[in-house]
């Protein structure tokens, strides 16, 4: 007999937390099948993917470096998604933020000073806010779907960065390569441990996790976000303004994504490049969902997804696997997560319904 889905009376709280675990296990299983098809030893591949990067101090520090933007944006998107505001253009807000922060660094390229980094971070936040404000304005004023506008603006942001890198921001002594000058030491984030690239941006990410958690669980703003996403009519009855919530969550998301962008260019990159993110803004969508739209969840999910980036690189080096495997893993994880989420509202039953119609 085929298994059936039976609706639960109330959603299972256990499954809310088990679902990401199921998703991870199923992704690993699918990964094994994938590696067998690619004629690679699954054990070696999984080792390269998930164990190797964690087996050295340097690897752990790299994990923190990659996880920083994912956690930052993951927290911000969690708040937005909880409110039912689907900002999927964090990649663009990150790009503009990185661009703005980077331009401040380039303006001060021959100067030293403690004020440079705060100015960069501020510029990054403002850049992200401006980019997200376009989306918020279009949504509130014209009811334009923020999924479309934020996504399209991501491509605009990418192209804008590209144009500037090929023109005004190009390093004058850079042999015409589309790269900026190297930032001065005053424009680089201090590292936490010698010999690693882990920088204070990671601490900022932890701070944002804590702030996000407090906002969501203790403040009126967090309450409004939750109610707006869960029951919009109830939010209106309570007297919460929908447009205010759209503005707040989008500007918050844009600001933090912009901050993440600046942290990237001032941290591991150290200059402006035509491409400053391997899709962190998009991967953060998966981070938010795997983290159950909870800031603390985003912390763990950010680390997990960072691992897929690192593992992809290791697998590429050790086993000659294409780098696309990273994207496949991330996609599988989201796919299986959405599938496993069915178990929150339904339970699986085998066999026929207990009491069948009597046959006389």
């Amino acid at each position: 007999m085929w298994p059936r889905l039976v609706k639960r009376q109330i959603p299972s709280r256990l499954m809310v937390y088990l679902s990401p675990v199921f998703a991870l296990l199923l992704s690993l299983l699918a990964g094994v099948v994938l590696f067998i098809i690619m004629r690679v030893s699954p054990l070696a591949a999984l080792h390269a993917f998930f164990i190797e990067p964690l087996s050295s101090i340097y690897g752990l520090a790299e994990l923190g470096v990659k996880a920083t933007p994912l956690i930052l944006i993951g927290v911000a998107l969690s708040l937005g998604f909880k409110a039912g505001v689907w900002n999927i253009g964090a990649e663009g807000q990150l790009t503009i933020g990185g661009l703005c922060g980077g331009m401040v660094a380039l303006y001060f390229y021959d100067q030293e000073g403690f004020y440079i980094i705060p100015l960069m971070l501020l510029a990054g936040v403002l850049g992200g806010i401006v980019w997200a404000a376009i989306v918020a304005f279009l949504r509130v004023r014209f009811n334009a779907n923020e999924i479309l506008t934020s996504l399209m603006l991501s491509y605009v942001a990418g192209l804008l960065l590209n144009v500037l890198m090929h023109g005004p921001l190009r390093d004058p002594d850079g042999f015409n390569f589309p790269e900026s000058r190297q930032f001065s030491d005053s424009a680089l984030l201090p590292t936490l441990f010698d010999g690693t690239r882990l920088h204070i941006g990671f601490l900022i990410a932890l701070l944002v996790v804590a702030l996000g958690w407090i906002i969501l669980s203790k403040t009126l703003m967090g309450y409004q976000i939750k109610v707006a996403g869960s029951a919009p009519a109830a939010a209106e009855h309570a007297g919460f303004s929908t447009s205010k919530i759209v503005w707040t969550t989008l500007l918050l998301g844009g600001g933090i994504a912009g901050l993440a962008g600046t942290i990237e260019v001032a941290g591991p990159i150290g200059q402006l490049l035509p491409n400053i993110s391997p899709g962190y803004g998009f991967t953060a969508i998966i981070v938010a969902y795997v983290g159950r739209l909870h800031p603390l969840g985003a912390l763990f999910a950010g680390l997990l997804l960072a691992l897929t980036y690192l593992g992809g690189e290791t697998a590429q080096i050790q086993l000659n696997l294409p780098v696309a495997v990273t994207g496949v893993f991330q996609g599988l994880l989201l796919f299986f997560l959405l599938a496993s989420d069915v178990l929150i509202h339904y339970r699986i039953r085998f066999g026929k319904p207990e009491l069948a119609v009597e046959k006389s």
Partner: protein
């Protein structure tokens, strides 16, 4: 027939017999198991146990299509019609085969003439009234030449005059030998229309009776058991100053599915309950939102709370001014389904109960407030940390009304206070509303349940197509007169002197 759902035995070995030509009432309160039983008869639900014999032959009805094939037709409470299509197009869509529209239109005209169901096959559904829409559903059923017609609370959307016409049709159908299963909890209707009645209470069959041998009160006793208690009605309330006043309020419709309010005038005094009757979808929801501030009025002076213009204030400033409200829809409007009762208590209570300090929620205080509502209004729940959606309709309504009453509002607007609520909870709610009025609050009740309004309101009016009738003292009104108001007909004679009294 037996059917269990998680946590509740909805039908416990229920027997039901219907003869050809008989109008058989299925009587019971909300939650008694009526819908479950007919859903099994119509093939929507699969019974856990039990057998169905149709014309002496045992049948298994595994789908509505099979039910129709056997000759069982059903008119639902909620219609499934496409607004933008014509009557004949709508009916053709429900057919299992492709039909010639002109031929079908002729059949429709013929059937509608024969049974007194006037219906123009070429009209578009959006131009039709609710009563006319119901006729489409009935004609659709009759075209299948059914042997058994199931009608699920058909009169809840009709004015008293439309109900009379429907009963004529049903009687004629029964005379021709059609068996009709008539589901309702309205005793007067059953007394007037039905031959036999099967009475359900809490999933069990209480009895089967000849309706002619029973009085409405004996039927009520069987339906509700010993929960019933007589209301003392129509006492003269001590009224004070006008607390809520609405002057020439006009609100354009928000979108194509909502109603625009035009020239609404009304006043509610301290100490009285004013009732507004009306068939669903005539602007009740819009009126509630205009009064509680979810939508602001174009002019501040069109809504006056305690002599202060309030038309442009949002919900929370109006709460501060003393106005609380309970919307018709509980889950998703009056309460947040997936959040717990503590968060739901906070939802409308934070302003007046002081549950917020500098943007931070005072959860300990909110928890005490939620617990107080649960205790004071005997809400049946395992605690304050369960989600609102896990409460039954009646318990959730007690919680929502309790949440507003505990804030001691000076003006309370309630929409459908007892819709889908069992008799015991309904009585609790009615009593607490009357008590609030006695304490000097002004109460406005918007309801589709005319019996409820006649019983509890001091003055009554009706809303139709976004226009509100004048308000009349309930003691001088009859169900028929309110029925005319519900249909948008003005009361000519005596209207002037009644108005001057109010």
């Amino acid at each position: 027939m037996t059917k269990a759902f998680p946590g509740v035995l909805a039908n416990d070995s229920i027997d039901l017999k219907i003869r050809p030509g008989e109008i058989h009432a299925l009587l019971g309160e909300n939650g008694a198991g009526k819908s479950t039983l007919v859903k099994m008869i119509y093939g929507i639900l699969k019974p856990d146990a039990g057998t169905i014999l149709f014309n002496g032959r045992q049948v298994e009805i595994e789908s509505p299509a099979r039910a129709r094939e056997l000759g069982i037709a059903m008119v639902f409470q909620h219609f499934s019609l496409f607004d933008s299509l014509s009557v004949v197009e709508n009916i053709s869509l429900g057919m299992n085969k492709v039909v010639d529209l002109q031929k079908l239109a002729n059949e429709i005209t013929e059937v509608s003439k024969r049974y007194g169901l006037p219906l123009d096959p070429k009209r578009h559904v959006y131009t039709l009234s609710v009563g006319e829409r119901q006729r489409i559903e009935i004609v659709r059923c009759l075209l299948q030449e059914p042997r058994l017609l199931v009608m699920d609370e058909p009169t809840s959307v009709l004015t008293p005059q439309e109900v009379k016409k429907l009963f004529l049709t049903l009687n004629r159908l029964a005379e021709e030998g059609l068996g009709i299963l008539y589901i309702s909890h309205k005793l007067d209707e059953i007394k007037e229309l039905c031959h036999q009645a099967t009475i359900l209470r809490l999933g069990k069959r209480i009895g089967i009776v000849d309706v002619d041998d029973e009085s409405t009160s004996s039927l009520a006793n069987m339906m509700m058991g010993d929960e019933l208690e007589k209301n003392d009605r129509h006492h003269t309330p001590v009224t004070g100053a006008i607390r809520l006043q609405v002057n020439r309020l006009n609100m354009p419709a928000k979108d194509s599915t909502s109603i625009s309010l035009s020239n609404i005038n009304l006043d509610v005094r301290a100490g009285e309950i004013v009732g507004i009757a009306g068939v669903a979808g005539n602007g009740q929801d819009e009126l509630l939102k205009a009064l509680n501030g979810e939508r602001c009025a174009p002019e501040a002076a069109s809504i006056i709370i305690d002599n202060q213009p309030a038309g442009k204030l949002g919900p929370n400033p109006r709460r501060r001014a003393g106005l609380a409200s309970v919307p018709e829809k509980r889950l998703g409007h009056g309460a947040i389904p997936d959040m717990d009762l503590v968060d739901n208590a906070f939802m409308t209570g934070f302003y007046r109960m002081g549950l917020l300090a500098k943007g931070i929620i005072n959860y300990p205080k909110t928890r005490i407030f939620a617990q107080k509502v649960i205790t004071d209004f005997s809400v049946k729940t395992s605690g304050s940390s369960v989600p609102a959606e896990s409460l039954s309709g009646g318990n959730l309504q007690k919680f929502i009304i309790g949440r507003e009453l505990s804030q001691h509002p000076e003006i309370l607007i309630v929409s459908q206070p007892t819709w889908g609520v069992d008799a015991g909870a309904a009585q609790t709610i009615h009593r607490s509303l009357r008590q609030l009025a006695t304490q000097g609050a002004a109460i406005l009740v918007i309801s589709q349940d005319l019996d409820e309004l006649m019983a509890m309101s001091d003055r009554i009016g009706a809303i139709c197509g976004g226009r509100l009738s004048p308000l009349y003292p309930t003691a001088k009104m009859t169900v028929e007169k309110v029925g005319l108001l519900m249909a948008g007909v003005a009361l000519e004679e005596g209207a002037a002197d009644v108005a001057s009294v109010s």
